[in-house]
Symmetry: C2
Subunit: 215 residues, 2 copies
């Protein structure tokens, strides 16, 4: 299944790196911990980082930081969300061919604010277990008051594209004979061993689902 | 030195995490490898990832991917740039208090396209040595034709804010007695050992400035 290509979602530059396949797009969205939400207020663009969770063809956005966004949403204005996973720094012989290896997604849609407490509760469950699988059942769950203080947006994805680069540098033919080093410096988001809160009650072991955290 | 606070750059949510100090803002911009550029075309927001380099109070954006942005710029429209460094996943006793440790910047300005070959050449020098200090002098430098094929934007930063969170979870007083684990999973962008291009000429050692790459 692919997203229909819209003028706004068509990758024009280096289209051979693009994909509109939902599976490809969703894998990137699901691996990324944060996304970058773009919206417009009176012709002024704003971009804010926030956490997200995908649920089928929608994106749940946790709205603690999105007060500017809320009014905007209620007016039915379009939103753009982008996320990028950096995989490597590509060092080419020629400066012009330096690049990065990455997997990115840009998607477009319109959002709505969740208003019913049960909807918010369920969305928080999805958001929590996406970051820490298993954590919901091992936490103090949200109170009615906390639910009131939480804003969650559901974005219906109308169109989306992925763009990716992998592999080594692509240099001009003549430059391969030169004495310049070329290659890739791989990079990854590394998660270190959990550090317990200094106020942690004695005798509580680190839960299995948080040890060796990875994505 | 701080940026003047404008309505668009004022951090409204959790203002105690905000800073308008140039040194703080620039340190984050300089550490981040990529940024997220937001712009508007006919009320449609776009967000694209790209590499950047700061030069004094301006941001150089490498425009290989920004063709949509170019026309837009020439019309003098405002741009928003955001970048976020993720430092940790904060695991609280209460779901509502889960958080992330991060350092982010949001900045606003207007851009212009560099048109003169010498300006572009110098900007590429800055962009290259920012990612790989020392690489410019050890590369095949750009040709006149390559310079023509490169788009570089200079963004004059008009206002900017940083927002940061660090430290452990902040739970409700009553929850500290509970049996839930709490703490932080630190995270960092990790750079691995350089992998040489499979077409690398024999006898070329990995340059010192690329070994143990870090930011």
């Amino acid at each position: 299944m692919s997203y229909a290509i819209q003028p706004r979602s068509r990758v024009k530059r280096l289209p051979e790196r693009a994909s509109y396949d939902k599976e490809v797009i969703y894998r990137i969205l699901d691996e990324a911990l944060i996304c970058h939400v773009g919206f417009v207020v009176e012709n002024q663009p704003f971009v804010i980082p926030t956490i997200h969770a995908r649920r089928d063809d929608t994106l749940l956005l946790h709205g603690a930081t999105v007060s500017r966004l809320l009014k905007h949403l209620q007016a039915g204005n379009p939103i753009c969300v982008e996320t990028t996973l950096l995989d490597g720094l590509v060092v080419a012989r020629g400066v012009f061919h330096n690049s990065m290896n990455y997997r990115s997604v840009v998607l477009f849609g319109r959002g709505r604010l969740l208003t019913r407490a049960e909807e918010k509760y369920e969305a928080l469950h999805v958001l929590t277990d996406r970051v820490f699988p298993g954590r919901w059942d091992d936490s103090r769950l949200p109170s009615a008051k906390e639910l009131k203080g939480t804003s969650i947006i559901v974005l219906d994805i109308e169109s989306a594209s992925a763009k990716m680069r992998a592999g080594g540098p692509k240099d001009d033919a003549a430059d391969y004979a030169g004495a310049w080093w070329a290659g890739v410096i791989p990079t990854e988001q590394k998660f270190l061993a959990p550090v317990k809160d200094e106020k942690l009650r004695a005798g509580i072991a680190t839960p299995r689902y948080l040890k060796k955290y990875t994505r």
